[in-house]
């Protein structure tokens, strides 16, 4: 990895350059919650001032820019009993500024499925390749447990990664595009003092985590406690609203539906993100539902996060951002569910 030092005013110039080259998405303060804390969202920005890199977390993850909630997969034109299929991919380049390490790790996990899986998805690859990613280090979130899952640091999957050293940024350069972009602003090579400062900041961050989970042997525990009452207890609270999957940076399951135009001359095949907590997730034609109960669906979500994905890719799907816990109307959050499960095991 190549490292550089970027003065803060040069960072502003770099963003201005990006704004001229294409669309820029960044963390934007959109509201204040009931406790008076700011609410941020990754949204398109028009000027440098709109980007707030001091944000704690966002309500939604940035996955919507790679796996949109709704995406047209193909279009059909009907013509005298025949039809023609048309497929378009999104090719416009854009930049996402200010992603945290957990969100970049989430993209790396999605890459495993959509880029390196058995059938790579051109829809995803096109968006991923055309997105310039600038990550940023931050002090731990109140409820985040990314450190327990090893996703609080990241070594690839980004173009630039910034660590705030007070008056300047310590920058990891992850791609040729980023290297070229840095040549158009003024930055310098790192010296011993920069490394010292960087390591100090990293230590402060690593020591600051409040929320932890014990992820050791979690895969086996989920198998052993498959019939546990814990699932009924938490499942009874679940509203099956699917909010957790919508805000999750790694939840990717979806449904495909087809829609005809009113005049009957065309149709679209639309992919829409789904949630395994929805009642129709595993319902098949004829009416049989493989997961009719809320508890089995909630259990399946945890099972996929920490057991199924781990079996396929040797790592959990969860990155520990706790967005699902923050958004859940019923107060279901991973640290509590996992702790409950572990205590059940100890009893």
């Amino acid at each position: 990895m190549l490292y550089r030092i970027l003065p803060k005013d040069e960072w502003e110039r770099l963003v201005e350059n990006m704004l001229q080259a294409g669309e820029v998405i960044g963390p934007k303060k959109i509201n204040t919650n009931k406790d008076g804390k700011p609410v941020h969202q990754y949204l398109p920005v028009e000027s440098f001032g709109e980007i707030d890199l001091e944000y704690e977390t966002t309500e939604y993850s940035a996955k919507t820019y790679f796996l949109p909630f709704k995406e047209t997969l193909s279009e059909y034109r009907f013509d005298e009993g025949d039809w023609h299929q048309e497929i378009k991919y999104r090719l416009q380049p854009r930049a996402i500024v200010g992603l945290h390490a957990c969100d970049i790790n989430a993209l790396l996990k999605l890459d495993k499925v959509f880029v390196h899986g058995l059938f790579p998805s051109p829809y995803y690859v096109s968006r991923r390749e055309n997105t310039f990613i600038v990550g940023v280090d931050h002090d731990p979130c109140e409820n985040g447990f990314c450190r327990s899952l090893g996703t609080d640091t990241v070594t690839h999957g980004f173009d630039l990664f910034l660590t705030d050293l007070g008056d300047r940024y310590f920058v990891a350069v992850g791609s040729d595009t980023a290297f070229t972009a840095l040549q158009q602003v003024e930055c310098r090579d790192i010296v011993e003092e920069d490394t010292q400062d960087y390591l100090e900041v990293r230590k402060r961050i690593a020591d600051g985590f409040q929320t932890k989970i014990d992820a050791n042997n979690l895969s086996n525990l989920l198998d052993i406690e498959f019939e546990s009452d814990v699932w009924t207890r938490w499942g009874d609270k679940c509203l099956s609203c699917g909010s957790c999957a919508m805000v999750c940076p790694t939840c990717y399951c979806y449904g495909v539906t087809e829609h005809q135009s009113l005049d009957g001359t065309s149709a679209t095949r639309v992919k829409q993100l789904h949630s395994c907590n929805f009642i129709d997730f595993a319902r098949v034609a004829g009416g049989h539902n493989f997961r009719p109960g809320r508890a089995t669906r909630l259990k399946y979500r945890y099972y996929h996060q920490h057991r199924g994905f781990a079996e396929a890719f040797e790592q959990p799907k969860c990155v520990g951002c706790n967005r699902c816990g923050n958004v859940c109307l019923a107060g279901i959050n991973p640290p509590a569910v996992i702790k409950d499960l572990q205590e059940e095991d100890a009893r």
Binding site: N17, V115, P120, E129, H259, A285, E311
Partner: protein, 302 residues
């Protein structure tokens, strides 16, 4: 400052991201491109099931399209939807598909109303297949319950067409009533193949029914010793293959020699949409054909 970002056209440079396979086919392109296919013939099997004969329209695609028994395709009726259907026909027919489809939902309902010459979309084939190569030189049990005969018929074709490669062959088929027997016009043909035993049983008989009445498990004692050199392929509802496989297991057949085919909801066929997950396993890419040991170890499978 324009020129900072260089657009990446996924349709032109896809091979840079992913290596081509050894036939120099690019996997990234055309995963959602469907083969246009014509329904050439529709055969009514029962009140609920029809057999659709389908031929890929383009010559080049027809030549490339091959499958192995047990695999499935995604059938799309543009404007209505896409469904996973296992292939019922013989694997020796290139670019020709026979799909046995029960009228159960939106897309199957539309298909049942279509006329020959209608154009549908086909993606695939997807998934794992019955290990017919590995079964060579062994006794073979082909067991189907109800609609399970649809995927099994493809395996029956393979075994009967290559009869010399296998030892004793038993085909067992159970269904609810004589009205629901699928492919009844083919039983005579299968029976006449040298050394193939076909036994059929129904849950409830009627006045005209001459054969045995009962469960599929009632036919199992008639197949002889299964503990040595025997493979079983079992297709049917989970409750049926559970009883059949447990019986075979008690008779000493290793679970890794029994193969079952699972059915789940699917929206992609490519290990992406997660709808077909059983516990943590994708039915579409790790299945639909699993050995029974694997199924036993899948949560929620049975």
């Amino acid at each position: 400052m324009t020129g900072l970002f260089h657009p990446y056209d996924v349709t032109k440079e896809a091979d840079v991201k992913e290596p081509l396979d050894f036939l120099r086919r690019d996997r990234l392109q055309h995963v959602d491109r469907t083969f246009k296919a014509e329904i050439t013939n529709v055969t009514k099997l029962t009140e609920m099931e029809k057999l659709f004969h389908i031929r890929l329209v383009r010559q080049s695609e027809r030549e490339r399209f091959t499958f192995l028994p047990g695999q499935f395709v995604m059938v799309e009726v543009p404007g209505y939807g896409e469904i996973p259907i296992s292939i019922s026909g013989s694997a020796t027919q290139r670019g020709m598909l026979e799909l046995c489809i029960r009228r159960a939902g939106l897309v199957t309902g539309v298909l049942h109303r279509t006329q020959p010459r209608s154009l549908v979309g086909i993606r695939g084939p997807f998934g794992t297949h019955f290990p017919l190569e590995r079964m060579k030189g062994n006794n073979v049990l082909l067991i189907a319950g109800g609609l399970g005969l649809a995927p099994l018929r493809s395996a029956i074709f393979s075994v009967t067409e290559n009869r010399a490669d296998y030892e004793r062959v038993h085909i067992l088929y159970g269904t609810s009533s004589p009205n629901n027997l699928l492919f009844d016009y083919q039983y005579e043909q299968w029976r006449r193949v040298d050394g193939v035993e076909l036994s059929i049983i129904v849950d409830r008989g009627d006045e005209s029914w001459q054969g045995p009445v009962g469960r599929i498990t009632d036919l199992l004692p008639g197949v002889g010793d299964v503990s040595l050199d025997t493979y079983a392929v079992v297709c049917g509802p989970p409750v049926m293959f559970k009883f059949v496989c447990n019986w075979l297991s008690e008779q000493g057949m290793p679970m890794q020699r029994m193969f079952v085919s699972l059915e789940r909801r699917m929206h992609c066929g490519m290990g992406k949409c997660c709808r077909c997950n059983v516990g943590s396993t994708y039915t579409c890419i790790s299945g639909p054909v699993f050995d029974y040991w694997t199924v036993m170890n899948l949560k929620e499978a049975i």
